[in-house]
Symmetry: C2
């Protein structure tokens, strides 16, 4: 097996980009359609909390890419959380 | 500010646990309700691809917690992807 080390940063950055960017189509869909019935409020509560902690971890370790990826993901997932929460609140 | 280093692993593991576990309520909701209309197929295509790459990164760096967290997240997010894909396919 060839030494994978030169490829490692490429794999890591591609992985981080994909998981971060993946929330763009979901946020757009949720904002446009307003259909949050199939979306789990608990998922976005837990997920946003986790992303905040990942951001804190990035800040404490002064890890630029980790801070940037989590800041973007937090904005996108917070939009989905806010829409879902508001829809549940209205339909109580 | 106190030295944050003893807290760092706690923050990192809590963050990883939250973002991993967050997919449990979404997977359960999707499997039970079958309502995938508000779910973005593109999100789960991009997200699952990213998680596979994170797993590869974990394997290449022999990072046990990274492998474990991404294996669990992949199972959960693949279930959501499969249901959403199947629903879109049926409604073409």
């Amino acid at each position: 097996m060839p030494d994978p080390s030169p490829l490692l940063p490429v794999i890591g950055y591609t992985a981080a980009t994909l998981t971060t960017v993946s929330f763009v189509p979901q946020a757009l869909k949720t904002l446009r359609s307003g259909d949050t019935r199939g979306i789990s409020l608990r998922m976005y509560l837990l997920f946003c909390s986790g992303i905040v902690l990942w951001g804190v971890y990035g800040l404490l370790t002064a890890d630029g890419p980790l801070i940037a990826a989590n800041a973007i993901t937090l904005v996108l997932s917070s939009l989905i959380l806010e829409r879902t929460w508001r829809a549940r609140w209205r339909s109580r």
